[in-house]
Subunit: 559 residues, 2 copies
């Protein structure tokens, strides 16, 4: 009989920031009972994933072992932790556990994807426990930039794992539970203490201790009070504490507050319904807001990342839901720009500048704090939890590597384990035992496709090179019937001598077809290749590009 | 007879950072004699301009008035100031004036585009003058992040204009001329003083005075000296002063220095040949470098923006020109990341992290200084030059607006004039007199196309939606000959029920063709539209996307 072992296998989130999905297993090699922590998405971009709707982890390894999967735990309701649940649950079909606000989102994700929300069981924080095969799991409240984030205590026959989820150390988080150092101390000293700390690494390069959400109240209140026109502020829709801080600043300045953006209204509603949000100021609807003098109005809107369809961008283009920004109004980004989103944010800023709206961003760090533990906070947690080993997660490679070094510098065993790296945790230090083929799955329209299927590669090629379509009819004697017909898409209409590009290609193809040997005409592959080669030569000559070419040869059959 | 007037018309660079092109005119309305200052490019991106090679200003307004264009002046050799010269000069055909290093680049730009470099005349700095119609122009050395940047004194019958070009105030710029406050004071006090200051706005939001290039020498020297493995550093190829600082730090640490990247070697060669660079340390070739122990080697490489083909990215992927980075080596970004380039830079950083290479970036501001004047520097220049009016240039709208406010706060008349805004400068304050249709021209392969031509829009659509091709042969009686043939590109191969998408579309088209009324079969447009509609319906149903559709109907003619 094989010896039982404890394993860790990130399928997403390790080596990137996004699409978190972490597998733990206990049992004999190859027959471990498994649990999954989080099942999130990453967002596509035009550069690498044009036309893709969402990027999900490739869970095929886990799907092939779904009979061994005991449960799925969701730490918090951010898209990069729960966004893939609806799309991938049908392949996994395990019970889902989460706290109430998070669970409400998990249910919505399942239902939005046409699944039943019944798979979700709501769990209260520790001391409540969930038994899932050999695992006993407790939810530990942590502060983050969304209500009700949780770390997980995962007790296994191989020792206690503390999986932090996303967290920061915040003594006064405005909404939700404060960081409770005594409780964490108890967690670290129960039984044999922490065997493995699996820990958020996002902010490992931030040298200063993180600041509390509560520190923002005064600067934001002062800022809003000092404005004369309408005030519009944006933050992440899910940052309910920030929404509260912003709304209270509006009320304190004698302004009516209106939320714009579906995601934001939904988030507040869910937070109120699940009891995590209380005392949120009264709101006015957009219709009511349109009738309120602008100096008495504050809008809190979606679109902190400059997203084209979000309220911030809509307002930057003109009237939106009856509301319009004007010279003398001000716009506050109570947020940071995620790398890669700069162009969109700057576009919105310049559009406001053209309107005469003053834009205030977080240049000075007064109006935004991060939801992740900074380097000194991570060090404090290492010290407090005294784990035998640390596995850095939730970060790009550079974050994981730096975090592992931080641990090693204090004599704690650590290892950089990126997506697909199976690590045995049963020994005294982490040991890489296997590399699993993993990757990304795309939600494309309504269909899931593999990132390596070539679909998106073809789109990128058409975007870079344009697309030429050649059709040719060949008769029963393998002779061309008429000339080849050419359609071009995404290419300059005229070549270097000013002639129409499609006609130039057609005329070169016609010349070729006049003298083409019968052997080529009779062979589909050779004919296709010959036509394609001519198209590329002509376009290179005429416009300096080699387009994608699709050739359709229709052969008339003897009737 | 109409009264003479002085006009200013930015065709690029005002309302954006990039593709600078500023027109000045003097004369009767509609018959002004003209000069152009700078003719630069902007770089395309996958999001908005996939497949485009370069973005150039639309100079058609000026091309239509080329007979009135007296001269083109180039302030410095950055691509956003000289990069479009070769491509657009054939439309303008005016003499080009520049200082020697800049002029050498201008000639290369002309020659690379198949023009003669003879159009370029090399000018020495003030007091040398160039007479161009009613304009008398002098080049005033300024410091920037490339050697030999110049401001222009443009003396006109309507007063003196000082066009700053890109500049900073640097008392010890390492390479090139230091900022000479006395000289600027003289310029401001000759004759009637400065009528208009047309001024760089890029760094108007930077609150602290700019630092000198010379402040970097010590931190970089200390950093390089402290490394044990190979040291690799990157900066902009054109920042010759930085190259010198980096190379000297390498030599001081007893390392052989090697430049990697064609652009960088060319820049240094030109700088030496034109005399702007002296005492540059001896270099070793990549072949020699491969034989030098890594602890004795320093590479200075292209690719500070994470460009895929540059040396930094090549090295992050493995061996390049016989050189390879290893654990224990270090990589220095002596540069800032231009907004929009974050993803590429982070990709390189993580690739190095995987290799075990330590990456040092400019987080702490020790290893890079900007080439542009910061807010207090701009205020100092306003104060020193005492212009009657200020026109902010070289900035996005938000920069221009902030700069105009800065001027107005000191009682100086100012106006935000973005691309296409013609401003009369003859009065006591700037007066907008006309809006010119302007925009962008794309170099696409070897052809110039208009940004609004729809070519790039089609590419973006194919990238987002995929492309379906339908071909159908119709016989002499307007009956379909066989079935419609479908090719898909950039779409998921299978629909929701697992059937091949192309076959599903073909079968729905076949069904339609069985019952289609003859009236539709006989009408090309109606048939095309009907086929297209079915394709979109089927794909929406099967994969949740509406693709681009190209329909080719071939009609057999009675033979």
């Amino acid at each position: 009989m094989t010896k039982d072992r404890l394993i860790y296998l990130p399928l997403g989130g390790a080596g990137e920031i996004g699409m978190n999905a972490y597998v733990y297993g206990w049992g004999p090699e190859g027959a471990e009972r498994l649990i999954l922590v989080d099942l999130g998405v990453t967002f596509p971009d035009m550069e690498t994933t044009p036309g893709v709707d969402l990027i999900l982890p490739d869970v095929s390894w886990l799907a092939e072992r779904a009979d061994r999967l005991e449960a799925i735990f969701i730490t918090h309701a951010h898209e990069d932790h729960v966004g893939a649940l609806g799309h991938l649950w049908p392949q996994l079909r395990a019970p889902v556990y989460a706290r109430s606000f998070t669970g409400a989102h998990a249910m919505m994700k399942l239902e939005d994807a046409g699944q039943s929300g019944d798979a979700v069981t709501i769990v209260r924080p520790r001391p409540e426990t969930v038994d899932a095969g050999p695992f006993r799991v407790q939810f530990v409240p942590v502060s983050h930039s969304i209500p009700e984030s949780a770390a997980l205590i995962i007790d296994t026959p191989g020792g206690r794992i503390l999986h932090t989820g996303d967290f920061k150390l915040d003594g006064s988080p405005v909404v939700g539970e404060r960081f409770d150092a005594e409780e964490w101390h108890r967690i670290a000293h129960e039984g044999d203490g922490i065997h493995v700390l699996v820990c958020d690494s996002t902010n490992v390069f931030q040298p200063h201790p993180g600041r509390s959400e509560a520190t923002l109240a005064e600067p934001i209140r002062d800022l809003v009070a000092a404005q004369e026109g309408m005030v519009v502020a944006t933050t992440f829709a899910s940052n309910v504490a920030r929404l509260k801080t912003l709304a209270e600043a509006g009320v304190a300045a004698g302004r009516s507050v209106c939320l714009l953006g579906r995601a934001m209204r939904k988030m507040v509603t869910t937070a109120v319904e699940t009891g995590v949000l209380t005392d949120f100021p009264a709101l006015v609807s957009p219709e009511e807001a349109a009738g309120i003098p602008r100096q008495n109005l504050m809008l809190i809107v979606t679109g902190s990342q400059g997203e084209r369809r979000a309220a911030s961008a809509q307002l930057s283009r003109g009237k939106y839901l009856g509301l319009e920004m004007k010279e003398g109004d001000s716009f506050l980004f109570s947020s940071k720009t995620i790398p890669g989103n700069e162009a969109g944010v700057i576009r919105v800023m310049n559009a406001y500048s053209e309107m005469g709206v003053d834009v205030i961003d977080d240049r000075d760090g007064l109006y935004h704090v991060s939801g992740h533990a900074n380097r000194p906070d991570l060090e404090a947690v290492h010290e407090l939890m005294k784990p035998a080993m640390i596995l850095p997660m939730h970060g790009e490679h550079r974050h994981l590597r730096e975090h592992a070094r931080l641990a090693q510098a204090k004599g704690i065993a650590s290892e950089v384990a990126t997506n697909g790296t199976m690590v045995r945790l049963s020994g005294r230090k982490p040991e890489i035992v296997e590399y699993i083929d993993t990757g990304r799955t795309y939600l494309d329209g309504s269909v899931l496709i593999g990132a390596m299927d070539g679909v998106v590669r073809d789109r990128i090629r058409m975007a870079l090179n344009g697309h030429v379509l050649v059709t040719l009819i060949v008769d029963e004697e393998d002779e061309p019937l008429g000339e080849a017909w050419v359609e071009v898409m995404g290419l300059p209409p005229r070549g270097k001598h000013g002639a129409a590009l499609d006609e130039t290609i057609e005329s070169d193809l016609a010349e070729f077809l006049e003298t083409v040997p019968g052997k080529i005409m009779a062979d589909d592959d050779k004919l296709d290749e010959a036509l394609r080669r001519i198209v590329r030569q002509v376009t290179m000559e005429e416009i300096g590009k080699r387009p994608e070419v699709t050739v359709v040869v229709s052969r008339l059959m003897p009737g």
